[in-house]
Symmetry: C2
Amino acid sequence: MNTEANSTLSEPRVRIPFDTLRATLAAIFERHGTSAGVAAVLADNCAAAERDGAHSHGVFRIPGYLSTLASGWVDGRAVPQVHDLAPGAIAVDARNGFAQPAYMAAHAQLVAKARANGIALLAIRDSHHFAALWPDVEPLAEQHGLVALALVNSMASVVPHGAARPLFGTNPIAFAAPRAAGWPPLVFDLATSSMAHGDVQIAAREGRLLPEGTGVDAHGQPTREPRAVLDGGALLPFGEHKGSALSMMVELLAAALTGGNFSFGFDWSGHPGAQTPRTGELVIAIDPQRTGAADFAARCEALVSAMADAGQTRQPGGQRHRQRADSLAHGVPLAQATWDELQRLAGGVSA
Amino acid sequence: MNTEANSTLSEPRVRIPFDTLRATLAAIFERHGTSAGVAAVLADNCAAAERDGAHSHGVFRIPGYLSTLASGWVDGRAVPQVHDLAPGAIAVDARNGFAQPAYMAAHAQLVAKARANGIALLAIRDSHHFAALWPDVEPLAEQHGLVALALVNSMASVVPHGAARPLFGTNPIAFAAPRAAGWPPLVFDLATSSMAHGDVQIAAREGRLLPEGTGVDAHGQPTREPRAVLDGGALLPFGEHKGSALSMMVELLAAALTGGNFSFGFDWSGHPGAQTPRTGELVIAIDPQRTGAADFAARCEALVSAMADAGQTRQPGGQRHRQRADSLAHGVPLAQATWDELQRLAGGVSA
């Protein structure tokens, strides 16, 4: 599948209505081994990333999903088990399925618990998270007015600060806070690694050196050569010891606290083609109406204004929302070849 | 007060029993305008930092505390008001007093709520935090077996990524997780700024250039000159846009969510000598017995072992615990001149 075509301006391009893209992706998932319910959740997530211009987690991911499903590493028909553990705590055993259906199985309960208790957590274990993390927090802020934090660990590819070998995952942290009515929430989603793997691949292709501190080679030595990082090397945490400490925190919260695997704690060698980490995820939701804040949304506006006054022209999440509005108005932009291939995978007549 | 003498090896040094140091600091606080209760809490916090070798937040801070008390900026006799807002949420109005007494006023309730609900939060507002942040999380892990996260905003001194003027505080994040019996918890406490102000001062004194990306001068231009940062310049966030996003999150969680001031939201110009930020703090405590984890402490041990196996020789918090054991066995090391001065401030006969 020619996913790189997306970035080639000379390539013929099409605009696909969001609902059409989502339905096509759902058909692909279901045709390649997931239940209809799982297909609907994954398609919505993947189409939303593409709609928002988050290409690294959009249709670019489809080959990885299908390769993993074909390998037998993930159960595309898993039915998550929800456990109500405490007034403020829900656990979900994803049963070796994808994280997003596990999250959706407990989403309404998480919202209700956050409202009733002021704060609540959702601990997902034995789950595969192969998507962007911001979709797990943004709706909590946008639709429910909650402040939300999500953490997920992944696969050993990041060398802890001062260590010699990779241990942590790229371990992202996502955060969302509601703004005043009419404004999209403040959202960020950041890997605790220096760089995403996809960006290293792009640097290798374009023959660019990496910034200092991005990664190490197969011998654990610092390198700026992207190929050396990709060929047996590893990434470093962002921000030296500080990012490393945060990455460790993600291992503890997303894996140890949930009962999921650490990023170094699973063995997929028996499943060639598997790409999805089998780990855990923690989501925390806070109701700002129960914390003593007079008017949280108004305070958010004050902070956003102050950031603009200080000269920060780009707000976290702003670019995604501009792209979203454009995609919803004019269709999601895709290379013609990509769209043809998606239709073929869905079992359609094209290509 | 000659606080720099602490680091001069040729200076005569003494070893002071921890309890003696703490009692002396309490006498100093009370003699300079705090209530006996506030004095006891601040003295315990400050003596503990010195005991653990965290000098930048130990007796080094005493002149700043006293200068602030003398300025009338903080109320050293404030009685915090505790509000039980929800099964998982407590708010404390520090009433323009220090954050630590406000925290202590609700500490037992926070522990009880975390146990009962799985997760609970403590939202402190209108508070002055002039100390290290790890003391606000470490006891939750060490004494109560809870996982804890604390965030506090401070004073406008950090330029948001891409902005021209300082807006955020150094906005630290502290985290603690309990390990198996007999081991101190995993603890980190990291400023979301590139460097602490004290370290910039030391670089200026020693004539060293700062690392790239540490700060800007008074015109908002990047500089490696420590004096340019100190003289009207500002710090940058650690880790570029990622640290900046985390610093923004601290403003939202520690200030907007609690009802405390933003780091740029208070005016102390009428109180020359004031050094303590009047902001807010958020503490989140999680009971790992209520999240589906089979044995959280054992998982922590597995992670610590794996980090050591990967070549990471220093664990977060390890150095502090070694210094603590030494201080408790042999007394807290201080320069003789520092100890003389502390005794004088306490109203004793020495010096």
